[in-house]
Symmetry: D4
């Protein structure tokens, strides 16, 4: 099952000792390892134990590639978000998608309140096989992207915002009610899950 | 106070007898009368009593203009919505704005999942002094419009949708979290309130 | 864009006159027509106007196929649900997927409280390219199915249930928190949206 | 009343001084003592005062057994959970059940997205008199277990998860809407309460 | 599995034709039949088809006993509620428990705002093996009953109330937060589920 | 207005400098001063500035009595709660009521799951003019007390609890849905507000 | 207990037969009878059975006064609301208060958006012993009234409004967060409960 | 676009390095800079890098005025709030409005529970072109202000409060349900957004 996929650890709520034990066990299996939700501090400590590890600060993730990632997806997975605050979630999706054997690309500077920047990237949208759109606040970006393409769009709400954003609920509801067909949704801040689903889609009829 | 504004009745939850008494009393004051949230059936009955009344089925409203509406607002109020289901709320806003002495215009066929139609109307957006944007489902239209103009945008969420739209809550939250500055929000389905506020804005520095 | 897709009408909240006008306009374009959320009564009336129409009571939908549906998706889309109450949503998904040019199959009698029936259908799960799982109440079926396959799973919560099901919210939350990776979610009762997204996935790398 | 049950202290929100006073008073009564929701730090301090105390880090609990626990329940209470994160709640249930005079057993590594591991333990399920199922995220495990057995199943939602798990609400709703009959539910993270209820069930017709 | 239990149909949302087909199929299996959530009108129609059926207006349920119910539970199941409005749910629980082979008893006139009536029935509480407590509004009765006995108490919130009762949510939350240990909870209005769980408890160590 | 009432400061969110300025200003007016929501640390610092101040750790409040409290209420105000965790709120109510010129009494060890302790205090309940009942978790105590007396009962929900207590919401809803007439409710943790209202009631017809 | 209070029936959800039985039983006890939440149709039918009954359409209530109401409260209870839509709840409160032996008065035409009307009635506010304030929508009236008087204010939120009023929740929250001390709150639409509590307050120190 | 408006940075969630980079880039464009949601500590550090910066502790904001603010709005923007706790949000609005080229004024000591103070400032209300009303707790102030003037009122709910204020939700709902026409609403604590919208309104027909 899941050939070519890395072993994945959900780092949140696990202490260093637990992380070390799990990583060592997974390495022993011989595959690549991806640990998500790893703080910079924890990442630094883990690098002491596993010198071959790479910590990705933008994605708050740690990877150990015991062998080169084999390309298994057929097309390209594109990750889109509007700006600084959503980057951690977008970068988690991008890193996951790459480690799962996909060609990846990202656009991090487009938002619904500045359409020209998005419209300027239409060719990138057109070339992708699957698009992951990460957005906080009102979560409108997936609808706009979904209206521009005929590809599966996976929407990831983020917990970015304040007040009536309710920790990502406003964005989540916006995405579930998207007026653009072809949009499906994952949990708030779940960049990993979006990339996993996108990887499966990118292998359909490979 | 409120010179040139019509007398307004909130028709919902009032029976015919109550409506008749209130309308008669307001007519006696000499001004124009606007009754919102009036069903077609109730409207027909009221026209029997007040033959000079006009029923507006799209806006679910009834008006009696005892004298011509005097133009009091300085610029134009534009009402924008995405399609069929939101029209009742948009039309209530449009009718209210006109009766309150404003030049009005509307665009009823633009949505975030079909940007080209909206972009084709940029000159209309540019000419308006105040823009009312009516939207249900994910409520993303005000953000997109707000990104295109430097005018006050009043966002009206509608109760249109199903499932996780929660009777307009998804649209309301989307609008409150708009990433476009300059957007303010009124209650779900409150086309009247949006037009009233827009009228006040259109009289500032008249 | 969207070659081979039918024109689709969301029937809910539209009256007969509106339906007739829209259907006539769409027929004039020459393509197939799908109207969802159409009651039996409305369906019967529409068949009087459009004798070539077929009403699908299980899916609460009406179709007019002006020409044979051309197969455009490469693999099979499988629709899974647990029983009687979820069938309307599942059937809407199945019908939509077929009209969008996909080979389709369905399993309507498997639930998480009777695992043997689901496990007996593992080969059907294995043969599908994309799986749509429809579930109300606690919405656990997509997690179980997602754990058995390495295909994209689209989860559709339904409003079936009572009390603390809150009109589908319990199922929706269950699906968003699925412990099986590869599951993405659409709005409550949105069988159409699930099938549309599945069709796009089934065309990736066609 | 409640013969053979230990005295129980809910440690959360109580400071060291308060804990010491209460424990001393309860010891004076002569019975065994169980303190739940006790942090490791607080536990260490309490062991200084009460050297006979045992701190259970997995269950975040402290016990003082002044006399051997007398077996009062007739059958076995089985505690089931899916993995690492839910163990604190499961261990609180297990410890409580043991101290209340029950034979206990646990299975900590089964989840709905990996059914084979659960199915491999069917004989353990069959041998239990009462089963406590602890689960976070979508909370689907009690339904699956409930479908496999004809014993009372007590479901304990945990606050484990993020985003739309809403601190255990998603799991709670999933359990309340369980499609498997025979499942009853306690408060989020209430391992103690589940074990207490299970103990009462295990004494019925003893 | 589940020897001596009747076949059960959840009547809500099923039409007459569906009900007839299912009942006929179940009768053919030879066991007793219980249909819950059956309106008086539907019940009358079903009696025309199945003359041996009995309709229970208080429980909104229909039963067909093809052979006498065999007593399988060892002790007595007691159903308690506070008054008129909660009786439909209490009666559903009582009827279900009886058909599942239990000796049953009920107390329908005790509430937390009139403690003397409850206290007058302490011997009935003491004699029961399992107690089902049905309550709407603030849902406090299970806590009071749970404080008086050392038996498993199954709490059933009802949707009775108005305003901030939110269709049973207030009662549900009250019960989940019960300060009396030994209380477990089922879904709002789920008298059937409570009785099913109680029957399993009443067979433990039979 | 409000003769004989102390000046009151809501200490939460105010820093030491702000507190000092306000207290000094109020002292200058010559009346007594009550500051609620004052941490022990802040209280100690304020005592350095105002040596005549008294800090009440149980109530988390600070008082400065420049002259003896004059008795203005006619009867007695009784404050009831179930145990340790609710005492801070109960003590805030008790202190406020005393400073507002009322004879006060308290019962801090009665709960709905141990009715005998409450029933043993019926004469105290009978002697009070107004009763404040403080309760967290399921918030059932006001209903039980309200059923025993014919006095105004003011219910104060507390934020004590975990999981589905939702920071006091479960208790609040329980109290709003109380089946005992004569119960009114204040905000979660608002011991001050309850005592203020009770003081007004205790002066009616003085 | 409760001398001089009428017997009260909560009419909602009771059918005619049930109402007749209960009313007859209460009449037999010799006291006055009050039935709240009685529709006009049901009221008319009950008058056929009980010709001495009076139906109060504004309060949706029915009364049978077997003997004159004895004045038991010492001061006056004043009921305040803003306008037409809240009158049913206000009138229920007024009628209940009168039947419970209080002198009553009402002001039905004051709102926070037209302060002059409220300020014009300050003497009426000053003369009351207890004030019941009924308000829907944003529920701000109790705060304003509470700021003008030093009497107990009982706030009754109503379910009047639409959109984000959420059936009275917005008003309820507004009242619970009132910045005017001395305000206590009852359930949404609970005019009866407010009057019952006000009656108890009006008897304190009688 | 937006001539004369400063460049604005949302400081929350950005670290010092990010802030420095962005500010330097904006300064290079030559305009004025406004950074909101900047803590005192971060503000002090930024002043080291940008000595010309001014930190505004009341507004938690930092400004760098490279050239004098040019007056672009025609009338005055008035910011109103009730007291100490809401000042940070009010001050953010005031500072933003000034930097956007408006004449500004503020009233910080008026509340609905002390109407006389508000009524004493009616001339200031009358002179403003646009009024921003900032309020926490029950959020009633905008309704009262809106009832006194015929100007656009922008309501800003704040997260101030506790218990059932739910972090500003109670105030937000109160404002959305305002019974005074002409009130529009922005997100909780969004002083910046209110001032931005007010600035656009103050330029209409300039
Ligand atoms: N960021 C993430 N969000 C959600 N799920 C994740 C994430 N990272 C890993 N996972 C899932 O968590 C599983 C590992 O969980 P654990 O055994 O708790 O480390 C993986 O197999 C993934 O399915
Ligand atoms: N559609 C509407 N939505 C909200 N408020 C309205 C609406 N129509 C009228 N109103 C307001 O309702 C007031 C009249 O209320 P009423 O006295 O109940 O008829 C008017 O002055 C308006 O402020
Ligand atoms: N982890 C727990 N969760 C819920 N209730 C508990 C827990 N531990 C103990 N309790 C209950 O808390 C009571 C003691 O509460 P206290 O007097 O506050 O220590 C015990 O009798 C138990 O009923
Ligand atoms: N614990 C409390 N909870 C709610 N309101 C309080 C509390 N303590 C004081 N108050 C109110 O807060 C007012 C003072 O607020 P402030 O001016 O912010 O100190 C007093 O007049 C009281 O009405
Ligand atoms: Mg698309
Ligand atoms: Mg703009
Ligand atoms: Mg899978
Ligand atoms: Mg079972
Ligand atoms: Mg008990
Ligand atoms: Mg009472
Ligand atoms: Mg007052
Ligand atoms: Mg106004």
């Amino acid at each position: 099952l899941r050939q070519g996929f890395p072993e994945v650890i959900f780092g949140q709520g696990k202490n260093l000792a637990q992380m070390r034990t799990i990583i060592a066990a997974l390495l022993a299996k011989g595959g690549n390892v991806l640990a998500t939700r790893v703080s910079a501090a924890k990442g630094a400590k883990l690098k002491e134990t596993f010198p071959q590890a790479v910590y990705h600060p933008d994605a708050r993730a740690l990877t150990i590639e015991q062998h080169p990632v084999e390309l298994r997806g057929k097309g390209k997975i594109l990750v889109v978000c509007a700006g600084t605050s959503d980057i951690p979630v977008a970068a988690e999706a991008l890193l996951t998608a790459r480690l799962m054997g996909n060609e990846v690309e990202h656009i991090y500077d487009v938002g619904v309140a500045g359409l020209h920047r998005l419209l300027a990237r239409r060719s990138a949208l057109a070339e992708a096989s699957v698009i992951i759109v990460v957005a906080g606040m009102e979560g409108a970006l997936p609808s706009v992207v979904g209206g521009l393409v005929d590809k599966p769009v996976i929407a990831v709400p983020t917990s970015i915002g304040y007040g009536a954003s309710f920790g990502g609920v406003a964005a989540l509801l916006g995405m579930l009610n998207s007026c653009a067909a072809g949009v499906t949704v994952v949990n708030i801040d779940n960049g990993f899950g979006a990339a996993y689903a996108a990887s499966l889609m990118n292998r359909v009829h490979r």
